[in-house]
């Protein structure tokens, strides 16, 4: 085995340009591949984070009155009692925004009303006592809102509240000691304290963008005991398991029965999730597409150059065969040769991948790579080289020894 290395090295020395081309291709391919995989991995894990909701059974209805109604609060009450009475519906509430909605109200959170710089940022949701049940969010400490704590909130007034529910992520950020329950905090930019009466295990904020500062507060949410009242309403409805489609239709019919002169938009959470992460999934498909094409092009490049080397060395191969080399020896020669080149390329590629990643982190705010993608990519490159060389090597092995005599 080792005996072959000498001749391979000396023959590579005569074909420097070709060998360098293949090694450079492998290095570049590896560098881009590893970074693309790094981004793909992050986007996939980002877009598959659980929202903390019972997404499979929840849908959202946006209702908008064509003419401003005289008593919007009565309208919301009527809508909600009809929705909650539907046979396939578990519960419903009027939401200001909800996880995966893509837009909503973000607010600073303070521990002290006079502090100059806020402590952190959170998404704000309004919910009544039906909110947690409808969302399917799990309380891990404290309690739900009581009906007597809920106030109507029109866009034109600002009732104070003294209770709120936070997510565990926000509670841990504000009170790392884990004693958030019962503490007072200041959200909603006021100087009126609000007490944490409940902590839910998980509830994503409304913003889903993977880049930018909002990523760091994506798990921070606060529920305030308000029922939003206005001419535009967002109802979240939780259907009995397996009855989502039926209840989406019956909910629309029921709302139109109250007032036909309105615009309804009904979407399942699955649809809302797909829409929220459409950009992330598009990027993943594009990156994977380019990566596959990159690997294919590199593979075919190796096939092409190796075939050329085989054609160039027909006579020498014939002589080796005539001197007693078996077909296996010939195949092994080309595989060893490719392994040498690919290993050189892969080593350079790992360095290139890490350097490229540092630069991407620096100028495009991408995530740091832990090196595992580069190693996986390097192994892939070695396998690719071995696969690509099989066909030309077999052709080389089929050169008859008699060729040497001509």
């Amino acid at each position: 085995m080792m005996r072959e290395l000498g001749p391979i090295a000396s023959s590579l020395g005569r074909n420097k340009f070709g060998a360098i081309l293949i090694a450079a291709q492998i290095a570049l391919t590896l560098g881009f591949l590893a970074n693309a995989l790094n981004i793909v991995e992050f986007r996939l894990s980002w877009s598959s984070r659980p929202s903390g909701m019972d997404e499979a059974n929840v849908f959202a209805i946006r209702s908008e009155s064509v003419d401003a109604s005289a008593d919007p609060a009565a309208r919301v009450s009527a809508d909600l009692s009809v929705l909650r009475a539907l046979p396939d519906v578990v519960d419903a509430f009027a939401a200001s925004s909800f996880p995966l909605a893509g837009g909503g109200w973000m607010s600073s959170v303070n521990l002290d009303p006079d502090q100059a710089m806020w402590t952190t940022i959170t998404g704000i949701y309004f919910a009544d006592e039906h909110g947690l049940d409808t969302l399917g969010a799990r309380l891990v400490a404290g309690r739900n809102f009581r009906a007597d704590e809920i106030t109507d909130r029109h866009s034109a007034d600002k009732p104070n509240t003294s209770v709120l529910i936070v997510t565990k992520a926000l509670a841990d950020k504000l009170f790392p000691a884990g004693d958030a329950l019962g503490k007072d905090i200041y959200v909603d930019s006021g100087n009126h304290p609000e007490r944490i009466v409940g902590i839910v295990e998980r509830l994503e904020g409304p913003i889903t963008t993977a880049s930018g500062p909002s990523r760091l507060v994506a798990e921070h949410s606060v529920l305030l005991p308000y029922r939003p009242v206005g001419d535009r309403a967002n109802y979240l409805v939780r259907a009995r398991p397996g009855h989502l489609n039926v209840s989406m239709k019956s909910a629309e019919r029921a709302l139109f029965a109250i007032d036909a002169d309105r615009i309804l938009r009904t979407r399942s959470m699955a649809e809302i999730r797909a829409n929220a992460y459409r950009g992330d999934h598009g990027l993943v498909v594009l990156l994977l597409g380019v990566s596959v094409a990159l690997v294919l092009v590199t593979g075919f490049g190796i096939v092409g150059l190796t075939s050329y080397w085989v054609a160039q060395r027909r006579r020498q191969i014939g002589i080796r065969r005539a001197l007693g080399a078996t077909r296996c020896d010939i195949v092994r020669y080309f595989q060893m040769e490719n392994l040498l080149i690919a290993a050189g390329g892969a080593a350079a590629g790992i360095a290139f991948a890490l350097a490229l990643n540092l630069w991407l982190v620096d100028s495009f705010e991408m995530l740091r790579m832990d090196g595992s993608q580069a190693i996986v990519g390097a192994i892939l490159m070695l396998i690719l080289g071995q696969l690509a060389v099989i066909w030309p090597a077999l052709r080389a092995a089929s050169i008859p020894p008699a060729l040497a005599t001509r």
Partner: protein
């Protein structure tokens, strides 16, 4: 000589069809990938209003104290304006043209009872908005200054909305019900879609949005809520009347300043205004001000997402790999013909002649690769259109410049890649090759 070389090149390319196909495919795929991202990138980072991008300016004022610096803008200045500052600037009337604007929404109730009511995106602006941004009209004209002053219920429609509501006919003078109120149509736009939508980057910077335009003064009277961000610092706001009295920032402001003297004058005005606000006690700090034109504004707001930069980098890396690949294959191809070249040299062809001939062959491969690349680019744009968010739809079309760039890129890149193989081919020794079997 040239036609003969072309014929020779064609013949040689045909003789080794597999290698030729591999080369053309490699270059085509590389060009396709890089042109797809380049086209989208160019559209995203393009100048939305080339004729006036250096005359339209976005003024800014530091409406928050040093503690409230905007973390997302590089100089910490707030990007939007409060109603108080915006109205003070409108009243001062220090620019040739000026408008304050914001996005909102209204329910459209079509006159045709068969059509269902729907929600439309509304832009509230002053009448200067239309001449400032060179907005083309199909029918009618912008509303008048008097309409702005009288806070009139008048509306300008986009062409698409006019098609939907009035069957594309001239609807000027007709009445359109928005919510509970009747509006008089004064104008219908011609196709107009600046990309990116520079005048308000908050809502959908790439793609269609505004469908209706109404006077800002009227929108304020109707208390139309903003679709977009409202950012408040200290005082919690409740409802529209409070918003108008607050330092919450939610408005976009644009001025047209045709000459350098106008710009200088406006800067002076902004500085004086800022100093005056500090003196009157409204701001407890010396507020910085800034005046950026459209290009500077787009750069400042970083509207091209980072992912786009990464994607572009990746696809040009891909092109580099494809070219390395093509270089290898070209070497294989030209050296495979060392025998022929030796014969030609022996028959008297000079090195230059061989070099030129091989270069022509390489160029033809590049040209074919470029054409294939164009085909793949249009496929790639189709794919991008279905994969990326709907906002990008408007971006994905190839124009003549893109076609030129693709072909030029393919041919030059291939020629560069083929330089070494071609040089090697020209070095072939006639005698040595002729002796070989």
């Amino acid at each position: 000589m040239f036609p003969y070389y072309l014929e020779l090149a064609l013949r040689s390319l045909r003789r080794n069809a597999v290698l030729t196909t591999l080369m053309v495919t490699a270059i085509g795929v590389g060009i396709g990938a890089s042109m797809t991202t380049l086209t989208v990138f160019r559209a995203m980072s393009g100048d939305p209003i080339p004729a006036k991008s250096r005359q339209l300016f976005r003024p800014q004022i530091q409406s928050r104290g040093p503690d409230g610096a905007d973390r997302e803008s590089e100089d910490g200045l707030q990007t939007d304006l409060s109603y108080l500052d915006a109205m003070a600037w409108m009243r001062a009337h220090q620019a040739v043209r000026q408008t304050v604007t914001y996005a909102s929404g209204l329910t459209v109730r079509p006159a045709d009872p068969k059509q269902k009511p729907f929600r439309a995106d509304v832009r509230a602006a002053y009448n200067d908005f239309f001449p400032m941004f060179a907005v083309p009209f199909a029918f009618g004209s912008p509303w008048t200054h008097a309409d702005d002053d009288d806070r009139s219920a008048v509306v300008v429609l986009t062409r698409a909305l006019n098609d939907r509501l009035f069957g594309g006919s001239n609807s000027v003078g007709k009445t359109l019900r928005l919510g509970n109120e009747p509006y008089t149509v004064v104008g219908v736009l011609n196709d107009w879609l600046p990309i990116p939508r520079f005048y308000d980057l908050q809502v959908v910077p790439f793609g269609e949005s505004d469908q209706l335009f109404i006077p800002f003064t009227h929108a304020i009277d109707r208390q139309l809520e903003v679709d977009g961000s409202t950012s408040c610092s200290d005082d919690r706001q409740a409802g529209f009347p409070d918003l108008l009295q607050s330092n919450c920032i939610w408005l976009q402001y644009w001025v047209e300043l045709p000459t350098a003297a106008d710009v200088a004058k406006y800067r002076l005005f902004l500085n004086n205004y800022a100093a005056e606000q500090q003196r009157s006690g409204r701001y407890a700090w010396p507020p910085r001000t800034e005046l950026r034109n459209v290009r500077e504004w787009l750069a400042y707001r970083h509207i091209v997402p980072n992912e786009m930069g990464v994607l572009m980098l990746l696809s040009f890396g891909f092109l580099a790999v494809c070219l390395l690949n093509a270089a290898g294959l070209l070497l294989a191809k030209l050296m495979g013909r060392a025998g022929d070249i030796g014969v030609r040299r022996a028959l008297g062809a000079s090195r230059t002649a061989i070099f030129v001939q091989c270069l022509i062959e390489t160029g033809m491969v590049g040209l074919a690769g470029g054409l294939l690349g164009l085909l793949l680019t249009s496929l790639g744009l189709l794919a991008a259109r279905s994969l990326l968010t709907a906002d990008f739809v408007a971006l994905t079309h190839l124009d003549l410049a893109d076609v030129g760039i693709a072909i030029a890129l393919a041919v030059t890149a291939t020629l560069l890649a083929g330089l070494y193989p071609t040089w090697r081919a020209a070095q072939v020794q006639p005698g040595w090759q002729l002796k070989a079997p």
